[in-house]
Symmetry: C2
Subunit: 467 residues, 2 copies
């Protein structure tokens, strides 16, 4: 990766004064707060903002944006800080808008299966709130991310194979645009042909086009029946081929997650489980009792053709919760394989016909490397992740990790895939944007960015190369 040089913007004392006038003690310049907000859960270099503004209303966000714009000061929206590609790193300094206090659930419309939340609501908070309604929100990146951050990074997770990603589940947004205006991108209708799809333009825009302050989301009825199973396979290829056949047969599986043998060992250690240390699929089936049984029987028969062991079922709610909690902690579990090291996480997504090839070649690279590396995947979507453990102070390890990382991404691109299925670009993957999209497509993205944010103040240095 090339260096992305960024000069820090000048932040006038008068701006800090004005923000303090607006926010009082909700404006912080405490070093610990700045440091915490200058990095995410990934491996990229940190860069703190000059101040952190804890906003409490959309109008306040608009006022902060107007004040910053008047002084040409960069703005970095911040949700839960759980991004992985440096999304919240204040490359040019400026004002970080922390959305965590905007954590109200504004409306739940049971009849329409939708809700409206402020951007700082986390996915766990939302599902906790929904618990007694019979509804749930399915999108579940590993971390307890904020809904605003999930929207901004077009997040997905283990349920995406059935319920889609944030792209599919955001109905509308309230956004503060870079000129400090407050807009709504759409209304509550399930579909519309009325104009440009601004909702989808802001979903995945990583804070570079405005600050998302409220989100309308689709909700789903909790299925009548849910069952989960774990199944060990003789090889990664056998597990992936089971996945491919399941998807091609149109089985509406809710979750189908691959974990390689090393990842299973990490989870066993971290979460005190006793899964067999082998390439493993975690499944979940949603539907009526009859439909869940039918789905499970089909998948079990496919798996056994590929030499899988027997399914271990988790039918009780608490067993399922334990199973998926362990899966969601896979990242933290992997980090514990070599305490003291950090992780370089990355994800790619390929057409499912190329998935077995993509994963087995990646695994061969990892096996041949001195570095430790785990693989997990939302394999129903063709999406998988590696976590490479390294000492960031050791240039040899860093170079080797980057080599593995880049080979994985380049392989995905060569297979007609994408450099990131769900983590996003931030500044960590900027260098792959042109290889993936071509120069003319990047020029079009740049034209959109410049049209909406002509001062270039919104999360500068992220997503669009060369800005």
């Amino acid at each position: 990766m090339s260096d992305h040089c960024h000069q820090r913007a000048a932040v006038p004392a008068s701006l800090i004064d004005a923000l303090r006038g607006l926010l009082a003690e909700r404006l912080s310049t405490a070093p610990a707060v700045l440091e915490q907000h200058g990095t995410d859960e990934g491996w990229h270099a940190a860069s703190p903002p000059d101040a952190v503004a804890f906003a409490s209303t959309t109008e306040e966000v608009a006022e902060i944006v107007r004040l910053c714009a008047a002084d040409n000061v960069p703005i970095v929206p911040y949700g839960a800080g759980s991004s992985l590609e440096g999304h919240v790193v204040a490359l040019r300094g400026g004002i970080c808008i922390d959305m965590s206090r905007m954590n109200a659930i504004l409306a739940v419309n049971n009849e329409d299966l939708d809700c409206r939340v402020q951007a700082g609501v986390t996915r766990e908070q939302l599902n906790e709130y929904l618990r007694d309604t019979g509804l749930f929100f399915p999108i579940d990146p590993g971390a307890n991310a904020s809904i605003g951050g999930m929207t901004a990074t077009r997040a997905s997770g283990t349920n995406a194979v059935r319920y889609g990603t944030m792209r599919d589940n955001v109905l509308n947004l309230t956004v503060v645009t870079p000129d400090g205006k407050i807009i709504k991108t759409a209304n509550r209708a399930r579909k519309s042909s009325a104009g440009y799809d601004l909702t989808r333009l802001f979903v995945g825009s990583e804070g570079t086009l405005g600050v998302i302050t409220e989100i309308g989301l689709k909700l789903y009825g909790i299925p009548e029946a849910i069952s989960a199973a774990v199944c060990a396979f003789p090889s990664v290829e056998a597990a992936v081929n089971t996945t491919i056949l399941t998807i091609q047969a149109g089985i509406p599986v809710a979750r189908i997650e691959l974990l390689d043998a090393l990842q299973i060992r990490a989870i066993n250690n971290y979460s005190k489980t006793d899964h067999k240390e082998a390439p493993t699929l975690f499944f979940e089936f949603h539907g009526t009792e009859a439909s869940v049984k039918e789905q499970a029987e089909f998948v079990e028969s496919v798996a056994s053709e590929f030499g899988a062991e027997e399914f271990q079922w988790a039918t009780k709610a608490e067993d399922r919760t334990r199973l998926w909690a362990a899966r969601h902690k896979a990242y933290y579990a992997s980090l514990q394989l070599e305490p003291g090291k950090r992780g370089m996480p990355t994800d790619v997504c390929v057409p499912i016909s190329r998935l077995a090839e993509a994963i087995t070649q990646t695994q061969a690279d990892c096996d041949a490397s001195p570095l430790t590396c785990t693989i997990v995947g939302h394999v129903g979507d063709g999406n998988f992740h590696t976590l490479i453990l390294l000492d960031p102070e050791n240039p040899v390890e860093m170079a080797e990790a980057k080599r593995l990382h880049d080979r994985m991404v380049e392989r995905a691109l060569a297979m007609g895939g994408t450099c990131t299925g769900e983590h996003g670009i931030g500044f960590g993957k900027l260098d792959f944007m042109e290889a993936e999209h071509g120069a003319d497509t990047i020029a079009l993205m740049r034209a959109i960015k410049n049209a909406i944010d002509p001062q270039g103040l919104m999360n500068p240095g992220k997503l669009v190369p060369g800005i």
Copy 2:
């Protein structure tokens, strides 16, 4: 609706000569061809282009666009001409690019459940081609529209409640941008977080941002079991409430279509069917044998609670085909209720909790009007249509039709809905854009339009008010 005044652009003879040099006999200036291309299937005033270019390759489209741009001449992309809001009307004249000869199916990837087609392929052609693969493409607006046109208008149809709209089913696009460059918006991965969602920006852009020349689409396996049923209800409200409960229960119904009593009469006359003249739902269930049975039993029990008559089943493929062919011809059937009159079709979409209210109030308006008006709806989405019959030469009828039309749209907006669920804006609904979205959101759409099409040549006068 206010007048949208448009001055015709000057089209230099040298441009016509250059286009003829490129296309030979595939450039037409024959009056009948111009006239045919200056109108669609809706009720709006016609305006012919100055020439029609029948393009055969993406590169040719790019060359046409470059030539037009050099002379500042408007460009109107044209698919099958089956739009309803004047989308293809050449308000400022210029060059119509007819895509019908770009009708090659470029690739079908059975393993990945996707395909790639040129923009002129029609939905019926695609499904005919797929027939032996076990796959199908579900999006079905009434007309045999082109895939390019369906993409440009964000079309949906009867299957959208289960399979989504064009928004959900387009994987990627090849687009000729207004500067004559050829871009791809995305690759074949099922999901990606790599940059702005240009695919979704062009889906529904109605030719105002560029010419869509190739489309990557999701495909689906033909379900193991399909069954369809017709059911008459004592009232529109009873039918709509059955729909609402079905959706809220999460039943994955594939189609759930409302037809009012008059629409049933029109279909009986036109398609020689003998459905009872009452508010009626047409259903289709997709899945395994067991799942289809389960879905049907649930819906039948709900319907009977609302006083419905017995379901009439169409289990044989030819009976289902006849049923849905009759439904797809509803528009033409309605026109035959009063031969010689034309139809003013419109559609709106509301949150499903407001659907019964929206339809019954609309129907009361229609009943109180001297004009004849049929109602059909993709009610699972909250989307419904009216077709008002009128003599466009009669100003009293025209004014009354517009009054009914505007009341229906304004009611939908007041209920948190949209002025169009699937027909699009064209220039027929331009006047509702600001009421639906607000001035600041429209300003953002305008900024995007101006950034991508600074000369304002792409389908001018459509979708974005005030351009």
